[in-house]
Symmetry: C2
Subunit: 547 residues, 2 copies
């Protein structure tokens, strides 16, 4: 027997309508690509999103058609989010930091009909001219005064495109499972894979991720998503912040310390979110200039794990760090490291260790930590297993891709090897493929990297496996040192001794000038393994840790 | 084109599973009907809910069958919520404060197969014996030692029923639109009508109502729903609090000031929710005994509007009041009076006026304030209109009732006449049927009642219409005075003069010993109109306000 409740669908347009009707005067502030700061209200944004929908209608698109964006966090990008998805098309955010070939692949694979791009990406657009000429339009997100001239592409001007459109538009009502947005993963290997979000998944994720234990967004906050809108929909904030009606601050292209600091202070930002790299830049700049936050109180950190040292640096500046975990396939938020009341008695060190974990499950997401025998591993915070997830905002497959080995039996295999404790705190031990398998034991490269990172001489650290005749694999530490700093193999052994089991201490140290990263800033472990293999191809170490 | 996300259903069992897995050690504390305090954990609760599901399976119920409860807020009632709904049956909470005939009607109309009842309600059960004998079982929520003896009914003992059942049970997965819970409205007129909630509506309502601007429930709170679990599912808290994993405190049968105060203090309650009557009792007791709250920080008030004086009394005790509005048909929460940042500059009086309003729309609920011409009225905070609502947790009709005039065109007519301002703050001007229509103008009985209530002599006030040859209707104030207090018609005119337009000042004053209420504590306006009509049947007032 079914309940007797209204079957009102969960749609992205309902977020916009709510923001427009009840928080119409809340502000959206954007640092623009053209320079300067733009400010308007949710009511203004909603009116322009309707102009976008009216403009799109003239291109002869069909429901479900993909419309690409190549843009920073800014108000025009936000208008596209709502204008495209609200009208029933799919907003396909493209990561401009990907390599040329990947972008080309993604646009073709997605079948984008129109592409909207920030001014900044003209060189990318021109290099993609052969592909883009097949599209219905390429639109530059600027006004006539700033329109670039291109020899190779016909470009439309966004402001001209929408200028004469009506700001009245009835958002269509359709099945909440309708496709809403598309984002390609930029994995460390293989072709990018598209995750096709539904209106339902986006709305549910926004509700869950804004809740008190996760991002804690209320209408009295000022929220600045530093994580880009092309990076898993800026972790849902372009949806969750308007849903709540909080002031939204969009940082544009400049994510350096000086730019972010001045933006936070000028606009009174209270909550921000982004990846560790950005925060290191910000905190370094602040330390160098002796500056302090006056309004910021919470930084949500994800993308990769914050080193405990980063959490401490934020805390020393009065900012609480909430580590959140997610993937493109999980919309993204699945875990957040909010403490429970019983943890109030923990000392600083223990508290920090917990906060640095990936966190506890967000309501709505189910987790299964599966051992090699296919059964759940003990919830003791020590036993390792593969992390499988399911839930209404988890991908069931990839766009236009017949098979996905990661999706089976109703679960998605995240590819992470983790521990989970009795409270549900998950710690990623490693990527399944990055774990160092030594003498029958699993050694987490990440655990070793965090320890290395805590040393004052170390700027960045990576641990990878190197083949070993006796043990199968042995860990090797690869570091970039701070300017003028010194760090030897003996220093390394001293650092690790008594902090981890002896067999987990890295076998060797390699100092490099820089570490290779993926387009999204993650360590490129495959490449680092190659560097290490090459370095040790011709020699054997003098003395083994385990000898 | 549909998105490619998992179609994991939103089910009540997913709330329980989350609580059990990740907040298994969070506490549930109950004052029991038998006397004393019971405490256990979410893990314990989940284990016993599974025993309930296993026990229910033996009665030969079919999916969708209704199982009734007649119980206070306590742990066994909570186990039934999850055990019944989780297994695919419908948890039908019955309000024991209703009149005998209403309860009899409700049990029959719902087609309850089994009834679970607290000890306290044995007299009700025995009076219902002819109806209850048709049920598969009547189970008393107690242990063998406390089992009552009944001459007229065969009663089962809850603890015996579940004692030998397994605490292992696989919650079935089904369509999220499946019926989950049933609650009858106890309107002021007509037969009670059943609202049949779905798993989807319950889960979405719990997510929305726990958010930062509504109840703001985080896992570090201790939440005490004083509003009964038979009163629109205690406003969703038996679902939202376990969803978040906060400590849950259930007050049992004793809702007097002394009992609530000691419970709040002993258990460290930080958030509570209930109707104004209960709070007046609590604050009066505290004032009489010179006591102060040490942990409580927020009181959600609903059911009927809190007088501004009540909000002030709470604030003076360090407690922030959040007025929330809802109905059985809206699950219930649709509005909450959380202020926006711009309201920080308001003076106390203006702030209070805003907080006393029914509040702003919760995301997910859509509102239409419709004038007599069928068009939306201006959002100026002054223009009146009928309040229509829609959304995923709004009833689409009533159980086992073919037609509902209140449901049409995709909207539910709340029966309230309201204003809405530009921020979405709704103020109920009156029930559509209680508005005083005088000389072509609408006069809000509630606005007049609030003013009367602010006078020190007035204990309780009601305003109703009385027929008037010249003006159609004129308002009459009916008051209960505080012990020994004096309040004349001249006092009344003085009180209202300059606070409202002259034509809105009540025409006459009637002092009574007590006012009639519905079973759920609402003023019985129909009855009050009869009292007033009888009083004035034989006489005309000396001087009219409008003469």
């Amino acid at each position: 027997m079914l309940g007797l409740m209204m079957n009102t669908p969960l749609l992205v347009s309902s977020i916009l309508r709510h923001a427009e009707n009840y928080n119409g005067d809340s502000e959206i502030v954007s640092r623009t690509v053209e320079g300067g700061t733009h400010r308007y209200s949710y009511a203004d944004m909603a009116a322009r999103a309707k102009k976008v929908a009216n403009a799109l209608a003239k291109f002869g698109l069909s429901p479900g058609d993909r419309v690409g964006t190549l843009a920073w966090n800014g108000y025009r990008h936000l208008e596209l989010y709502y204008g495209i998805s609200g009208a029933g098309y799919v907003c396909h955010t493209i990561n401009p930091r990907l390599f040329h070939d990947q972008i080309e692949f993604i646009i073709s694979h997605a079948g984008d009909q129109i592409l909207f791009s920030d001014l900044s990406f003209l060189p990318i657009l021109e290099s993609l001219a052969p592909v883009l000429k097949g599209l219905k339009a390429v639109v530059i997100l600027t006004d006539r005064a700033h329109m670039p001239v291109s020899e190779v592409l016909d470009l439309l001007c966004y402001e001209e495109l929408i200028a004469d459109e009506s700001d009245s538009y009835d958002w269509p009502e359709f099945d909440e499972n309708t496709a809403c947005a598309l984002c390609y993963t930029s994995g460390t290997s293989g072709a990018p894979k598209g995750v096709l979000y539904s209106h339902r998944s986006v709305v549910l994720h926004a509700m869950a991720s804004s809740s008190a234990d996760i991002m804690s967004i209320s209408s009295s906050e000022t929220v600045c998503p530093v994580v880009p809108m092309f990076h898993v929909n800026a972790w849902g904030m372009p949806y969750s912040v308007p849903m709540i009606g909080a002031k939204l601050v969009l940082p544009g292209a400049k994510l350096d310390g000086a730019s972010l600091f001045s933006l936070f202070e000028e606009e009174g930002v209270t909550i921000t979110a982004g990846v560790p790299t950005v925060w290191m830049g910000l905190l370094d700049w602040m330390d160098a200039h002796g500056r302090h936050f006056t309004t910021l109180k919470r930084a949500v950190i994800g993308g990769s794990a914050p080193a405990p040292a980063l959490i401490t640096r934020f805390r020393d500046k009065g900012v609480n760090v909430r580590h959140a975990w997610g993937m493109t396939e999980t919309s993204p938020i699945g875990l957040a490291s909010s403490l429970k009341p019983k943890h109030a008695v923990l000392d600083d060190e223990a508290r920090l260790m917990l906060e640095a974990k990936q966190g506890r499950p967000v309501f709505g997401m189910e987790f299964r930590i599966e051992g090699t025998d296919g059964n759940p591993v003990p919830r003791d915070g020590k036993s390792y297993g593969a992390m499988l997830v399911r839930g209404p905002w988890v991908a069931a497959g990839y766009f236009n891709t017949p098979e996905s080995p990661a999706h089976s039996g109703g679960w998605f295999d995240t590819g992470d090897v983790v521990t989970m404790d009795a409270d549900g705190f998950v710690q990623i031990v490693d990527r399944n493929k990055d774990v160092v398998k030594s003498g029958g034991e699993w050694i987490s490269s990440i655990e070793l990297e965090n320890i290395a990172q805590s040393h004052s001489a170390v700027k960045e650290a990576a641990v990878v496996a190197r083949a070993d005749a006796r043990w199968g694999e042995r860990p090797v530490l690869v570091v970039v040192l701070r300017d003028g700093a010194r760090f030897t193999r003996d220093d390394m052994v001293d650092l690790f001794t008594d902090r981890i089991s002896k067999w987990s201490i890295p076998e060797d140290l390699v100092v490099v000038d820089e570490l290779p990263h993926t387009a999204t800033g993650k360590l490129l472990k495959m490449k680092i393994r190659e560097i290490v293999a090459a370095r040790f191809a011709a020699m054997e170490p003098d003395d083994s840790i385990l000898s």
